[in-house]
Symmetry: C2
Subunit: 335 residues, 2 copies
Amino acid sequence: MTITDVAARAGVSPATVSKVVNGRYGVAPRTIAHVRQVVAELGYETSLVASSLRSRRTGVLGVLVAEFEPYSTEILKGASRAVAGTGYELLAYSGGTRTDGDEGWERRSLSRLGGTLVDGAVLVTPTVALVTGATPVVAIDPHAGPAAVPTVDADSHRGAVLATEHLLRLGHRRVAFLGGRPGLESSRLREEGFVTTMRAAGVPVAPELLRVGGYRPGPAAEAARAVLALADRPTAVFAANDLSAIAVVEVARELGLAVPADLSVVGFDNIPESALVDPPLTTVEQPLQEMGARAVRRLVGLVDGDAAAGEGAAWGDHLRLPTALVPRASTAPPA
Amino acid sequence: MTITDVAARAGVSPATVSKVVNGRYGVAPRTIAHVRQVVAELGYETSLVASSLRSRRTGVLGVLVAEFEPYSTEILKGASRAVAGTGYELLAYSGGTRTDGDEGWERRSLSRLGGTLVDGAVLVTPTVALVTGATPVVAIDPHAGPAAVPTVDADSHRGAVLATEHLLRLGHRRVAFLGGRPGLESSRLREEGFVTTMRAAGVPVAPELLRVGGYRPGPAAEAARAVLALADRPTAVFAANDLSAIAVVEVARELGLAVPADLSVVGFDNIPESALVDPPLTTVEQPLQEMGARAVRRLVGLVDGDAAAGEGAAWGDHLRLPTALVPRASTAPPA
DNA sequence: GTGAAAGCGCTAACAT
DNA sequence: ATGTTAGCGCTTTCAC
C-alpha cells in the first residue's frame, strides 16, 4: 500500500496525494475530497521511513536508552506524559542490547536515527561524549565532563550525602560503597558524596570497601560477594542504584545474612521495584518521571526553535532536580 | 555523515562501502581494512531509515503501544530482556498520544513502521482488528473476536472470578464493576467473570453498578464518582485495571470515604504502582513481563521463519498465562 | 574486486 | 490546480 497505489486508484499523481495527505495548499476541494476518500478506503498511511528520508521533519521525538529496565521506563512514563498534546509522537529505541558490548550505543543510535527518523532525541545515561550534530539533543544523567547539550539530572551528591548520613546516624562505621557506571557524572558524584561524608564524620573508608557495580545487577552481585567475603565484613552497603542494591540483598540472603539485622543496604533511584522487594529498600529518590518530562519539554522547545517560549527558556544548559532520602526497612543499627 | 562521505574519503565507491559495512563477499581484504579504518575515523553509522527503505531487513523489532504507562512499560521490560542476545534491537513506538482521538493508532503505527522500519511488531492492546499485512505481528491482550495473529494474554476470566469471590467471601453484596476498554477481549472477559460469579452466588448485579472506565484514570474517576453518588452506595468496587482502581481510591478519598473501611477496592494487572499506593491495592496479577518476553520470542520465531525452533513452535495461535489474586490492604469486610 | 546505475516511497521544486 | 522530475541515503544487480 504505497502512495502510488493511492494515486493510481484516485486517478491523480503521487504528488497530489502527497499534498492532500500533508495538507499542502494548491489542491482543488473536489480533488481533496476524492483523494481523502480513496485514502480512507485503502487504509493508506504514509510510511514514516520514506517520508522522513525525504522531508527531514517527522513529528517524532526519540528517547534513546541502552535497554528497557526500571530506570529508563520511569523516564519514559514521564516523557510520554509530557509529549501528550504537543503534536509529537514518541519513539523509544533500545540500542544497547547488541551482544558485542554496549559501549557507544548512544552514538550509534543517534547516528542511525538522528537527522532523519526523529526530529530530536532524549539520551538516557549516555556514557560517551556526544557529537553535537544537526539533531537537537537533551541528555539525562549524562557522561562526566562538560556537556555540549542541555542536561537534566538529579542531585546525586546531595542524595549520597543523605544516604551516608543515614547509615552513620544508625551507627554504621564499616560501610561499603558499590559504585555506578564509570564515566557517568552521577556515578562520580555519588561516590564523592559518600566518601566526603564518611571523612567528614571521621570514619575512614577502607579501599577494599570501594567497589564498582556498574549500575548493573550482575557486576553488582559479584562485587557484593567479594566485599561480603572479607574477614572484616562491612555492616552496611550503599549501592549506587536500586538495581545494584537489590542484587546486594539477594547475595546477602544467599550467604545467610539477614537484612537489615546482619547487613543494612541503601539504594539510589527509588524505582518502583525498590519498595516491592523484601525487605523494602531504603533508598534515595530521584524524580525520574519528572526528569523525563522536563527533558521532553526542553527538547520540544529546541526542536520548535522558539527559544523564547515555555521550557525552552525556563532553564539553560542544566537542570538539576532535588533528591530525598526514603527510609524503609533495609536499614537498621548494626548488630 | 553519509556513505558517500565515507566513500569519497576512502577513495572507493559507495557500493564498496556498503559491502564492507554489511559484510558482503567480494571485497579485497586490503580494501575492507581501509574502509573499516575510514568508517571508524569518521564515526559513520548506517542510517536506519535509508537502509530500511532499500533493504527491507533492519534487525529491529517494534513494540507498538498507545502510550507509555505502567502496563505497557512492564511489557517493555519483559520484551527487552527477551530480545537480548537475539541480535535484534527494540523500538517502542507510542502512536496513541495524538490529540485527535486515539482510535486506530495500532493500524496507523503498523502501516507507518511495518514493512520498512521494523521486521516485525508486538502490538500491545490493539483495539481494532489487524490487517494481516506483510509484517509479522504478535498481539498482546488483543481486540475481541477471532484473532488473525498469534496472541498472548492472561486469563482475565479466571482473574475476575478470583477477585469477585474474594469480595463475596469478605461479605460484600453490593459491588460495582468498572469495566475496561470496550473492544478488548480482556475487558469482556473480566466483566463476564464478575457477572457470572455474582450470579452464581445468587447476588444480583444492579445495572447501575456496571460502568465503563475504559482502563483510563480519567473516565474511571468519572464513573466512580457516579457510582459512589448513588443513594444505595456499593460497599466495594472491582475495577478492570489498577490504574482505574487507583483512580477509584482517589475519588473515595475526595468524598471522605475511607478505603477499605467504607469502601473496598480491587484492581487488575498488579502493576508495581498498585503496591505503592495507600492503601496497597488488592489486585489480580498478570505476568506482564513474561507476556512481553513470550511475545517477543514468538515474534523472533516468526521473523526468522524457523517455525520449527524455539518459541515458534512452542505454542500456536494463542498463549494464555495464568492470573492470581494478590490480597493487600484495600479490601476488608463491609462496615 | 570494484563501480555505475537503478530504485525503495516519498516530498519539494519546478514545469505546465 | 496538477503533473513531471529529481533526489533523500542506501543496497543491489550487473557490467566491467
